[in-house]
Amino acid sequence: MAMAVRVCLGFLIVLLYSNFSTALYEDQVGLADWHQKYIGKVKQAVFPTQKSGRRRVVVSTEENVIASLDLRRGDIFWRHVLGKDDHVDQIDIALGKYFITLSSEGSILRAWNLPDGQMMWESAFYVSTPSKSLLYVPANINLGKENWFLVFSGGWLHAVSSIDGEIVWKKEFAIDSLEIKQVFQPPESDIIYAVGFVGSSQFSVCELSSKSGEVLKHNTASFPGGFCGEASLVSSDMLVALDATRSALIAISFQSGIINFHQTYISDLVQDFSGMAALLPVKFTGIFAMKTVSSIYLVRVKGVSELEVLEKFNHPASVSDALTLSEEQQAFGIVQHVETKIDFRVKLDKDLRNGVLKETIEMDPQRGHVQKVFISNYVRTDKSHGFRALIVMEDHSLSLVQQGVVVWSREDGLASIIDSTTSELPVEKEGVSVAEVEHNLFEWLKGHALKLKGTLLLASPDEIAAIQAMRLKNSERNKMTRDHNGFRKLIIVLTRAGKLLALHTGDGRIIWSLFFPSLHRSEACEHPSALNIYQWQVPHHHAMHENPSVLVVGRCGPSHDALGFFSVVDSYTGKERNSLKLAHSIIQVIPLPLTDSTEQRLHLIIDANLQAHLYPRTRDSVNIFLREMSNIYRHSIEVGKDMIRGYSLQSGCNLDVADEYCFNTKELWSIVFPSESEKIATTATRKINEVVHTQAKVIADQDVMYKYVSRNILFVATVAPKAAGEIGSVTPEEAWLVAYLIDAVTGRILHRVTHHGAQGPIHAVVSENWVVYHYFNLRAHRYEMSVIEIYDRSRADNKDVWKLVLGKHNLTSPVSSYSRPDVMVKSQSYFFTHSVKAMAVTATAKGITSKQLLIGTIGDQVLALDKRFLDPRRNVTLTQSEKEEGIIPLTDSLPIIPQAYVTHALQVEGLRGIVTIPARLESTTLVFSYGVDIFFTRIAPSRTYDSLTEDFSYALLLITIVALVAAIFATWILSEKKELREKWR
């Protein structure tokens, strides 16, 4: 009997737990999540001229995205994210309906259908020597005839059929070490001209037959001064090049096979020239553009020996490509900064003195300088030409300017987020009602009646639409104040361009933005770049009147020893509160778990000389720090040297000037991996703000296991040096992966395990007392995920569940890293189907809720996988008590449940990171994932056990209560009657 009850109970538990997914109904999309699509910083843009494509623009970006955008609103028509090494070099439009891209250093040519982005064909070229690639699409392409594109890449010139991408002919130039700079075909001619340089001092012109690629003529002439390699074609028989010192221009004419050089010093042409010049890759006839340190010059070529400066633009400015308006008329655009505004001018090449168009546009100062401009024209109603410009700004944003106004802007810097943090919103003040939530009781009831209809699936399509609109409009989630559940926050992100943006978690709108380079650019700091953001001040008790703030750490140059800068930004307003130029470099920033009396968090900055600097620089913080200094350790991972070192801190610095905020580091330990057999691939540590609810784990049979919970646990994975490359480069015998668990204070290796026949890429997460890592198993040729759980055995005898339950247990006994740990390790491996791009673990406010792993798959989706699937105690045959505990029977691979994708039917293209933020409601975690797109949602790993869900039907509850009350009355009346009858009897 008892057995049967047990079986029943076990079954019930399994049944309860079997519904793992926190799945979504289709009509719940957009209630708690939002998704924003971006493309990244635009590199090239082409405007289709054919009638059908007139309202769009096709672009390629630095995030390897190609996209077609709507010119009216800036929306994406279609978009493709190419592989991470598949950089787009050249783009063009052919036949009015194909979008041609040349990528991967000129080795892949693809044609896309312009209206819908379907790939039409793809062809690959063999590239022997990397070089700049060229794509030439003949302008006067006829639709009926077969036409060829010319592609020069890696020493070969290919002619490619425009219909199916077949290579018609190819010609090698690498033998002559000729590097082609320009390829062109004069209209109505069968001869292709290829001009380029041989070595550094010879100029070469090749005439090829367009039918077969046969070399008809080949002329070479040498120039003693040498070339730097940059050249600009000004007409069909003339080229302008820069000499090796970049201080002189060489005009080269190659009419009918005779090559003539003429050298002009730039200093003769322009005044106060110094430094180096560069040619801008813009295509005008008879004009070329030259860039010096301070300005951009437009120079007209009148003859071989005659150059004339037409115009000079001071930086920051940008010149667009030439736009052909008619047979002999070309136009180009110039954008220049005039204080806070930008000046957009369009000029015709025939009449340079007077521009066609001059507009001054107000631009957001948080966008920085103009980087690129692309222009297109349209015909106005009075048959004159109108122009619009696509402007790429320094913060990677893209704007369309037309008739003096910014028509739309895209915040495409968000495609390259490098770091993020969160901030709480202000507390709602009393007496200030932020939104009138529900107007009156009648409206409220009506809304709920409608919702009830929806849940009972009795609603008509119109009503369903009304319900959906009502839910999405819910003003509650977009308020600018703190909410009870902690769902409303600000996500503060830092982009690669150096822009700080605050996004509201309710709908993802931008609350404020701050652009760092323009803020910190100065003589001493020419190329400021922001590195990371940290929490600086999170007011809790003491400084409640203060706004929270974040710390942005940056560097003045690209090298590691460049001087750093600090900036403290108010999280509510986005204003810089104060900034600081540091006198040292920044290698590592360590946020300490200490705050000063104004609740500013203490940070240690390690510079290139391994000295630690304490911030904020106040007496108060030094006093707090000195008290805790003996407990503060740091470690550094030197990937190149395959070494891990641990340090402690000491007072006093060996600086010339005494500095009480500077501390010395002393090496305590080091782990050197044998470089011939191991190479550091990945490291992972626990999140510093992670909360662990309980140190003990009660397993079946009322036994207790103690988790080895240490903040200093460091996971390191090394691979065989041979197997450090991609999959497919090694055999299983040559590959292995070694996983280490290291105590970062003492350098003690707690556990070491070798996986033979395994290789990277490795993704790992460490949480509580476990680590999960994903790698490739070459023997099975499948991906694998392993889990290691580490338990403390030194306290194993101290187990009494009742003591633990009653809180009488002595868990406060000090745990020191220096006491010799007696640990026990359990591990297990499972197959996993997909490649992984990023991995994270859910985090909740108190750490009570069970954990889920968030896995960013190769398909750019985020999968939530319950940690219980990665339990090392899973077994093929489970005992009764283990079944009751909810252990899942062992399977060789981890399940992929489509409903468990937190991104549901969306993709976070180019996924790079997943961040989890605990909400105040214990059951809920906020998830922010970013890549080219950004996506936010909230998930409840064990369902929302501590609150009613949003679609809880109050109406149904009301009906139930009414029904129950009615039933009580009915039965009461009935019983009264019955009693009366009995009495009468």
């Binding site: 008892a2 009850v5 047990r6 109970l9 997914s21 799945a23 979504l24 109904y25 999309v29 279609w78 493709h80 994210v81 592989g83 991470k84 090494d85 598949d86 080795s107 892949i108 693809r110 259908n113 819908d116 982005g117 379907q118 790939m119 039409m120 064909w121 793809e122 690959a124 063999y126 009972l456 699936l457 991609e726 999959i727 497919g728 480069s729 490739f776 099975a780 040729h781 499948r782 991906y783 189907t833 997909h834 490649s835 791009k837 190769i858 398909g859 750019d860 992929i896 489509p898 409903q899 994708y901 549901h904 039917a905 993709q907 149904l956 509850l957 139930t960 029904a963 129950l964 039933a967």
Partner: protein, 203 residues
């Protein structure tokens, strides 16, 4: 199913010498090979998929080393792939594809073998079909009295109805003497404690 596979094997035996390297072959002057295949999204039209979604399907080599896209007819190819063992994954929203293990032999140039890693099925032609369709949303159950009754509120009402109408009936059917005995027994045992009701303790 059995019969069909037997047919395939017979077909292979017959034509094994004629079967060309439908999968691949050396290409151009490079040292690599070309992997060419075909992705079949069956039922894509029946489900009302627009060509837009099909154009967003990607084929990924070696976990992101290279990415290519499907052509309108579903074909794809990777060029200049070195000999060795590779992995191909297909990413198409709404479908679950098994990764494919591709072996390019270096001794026997151009010989390529393919197998699904999920179920170790050997592919004789690189035609990739989804193992299953993926449904990302829970489906709302159509309205039924059962689901209403199963909800907590339904259970509450149901239980109450049960108690109100069935309990008196049960009491009526009970033998008065038996009832008295049971009441006495209860009094003798005292208040039943929770631990007594737990199944573990009773045995």
């Amino acid at each position: 199913m059995m019969k069909r596979s037997a047919e395939i094997i017979a077909f292979l035996l017959l034509f094994s010498c004629v079967l060309p390297s439908a999968l691949a072959g050396p290409s151009g002057p490079g040292d690599g090979y070309t992997i060419a295949g075909h992705v079949k999204l069956e039922g894509a039209t029946s489900k009302g998929f627009t060509p837009m979604e099909k154009s967003n399907s990607k084929v990924i080599l070696n976990g992101g080393q290279r990415v290519t896209f499907l052509r309108a007819d579903g074909y794809f190819s990777f060029h200049n792939v070195p000999a060795g063992t590779h992995l191909i994954e297909v990413s198409a929203m709404g479908y679950f594809f098994s990764p494919v293990r591709i072996d390019i032999s270096s001794r026997n140039p151009g010989k390529i073998q393919a197998a699904l890693t999920e179920n170790r099925r050997v592919l004789h032609e690189l035609v990739l079909e989804p193992l299953r369709e993926e449904q990302y949303y829970e489906i709302r159950e159509p309205f039924s009295l059962m689901s209403l009754l199963k909800s907590p509120m339904g259970l509450m009402v149901g239980f109450m109805v049960l108690v109100v109408f069935l309990m008196p009936k049960l009491m009526e059917n009970m033998d008065p003497e038996e009832m008295r005995r049971a009441q006495e027994e209860m009094r003798a045992q005292g208040v039943p404690s929770l631990s007594n009701l737990l199944p573990g303790r009773s045995s």
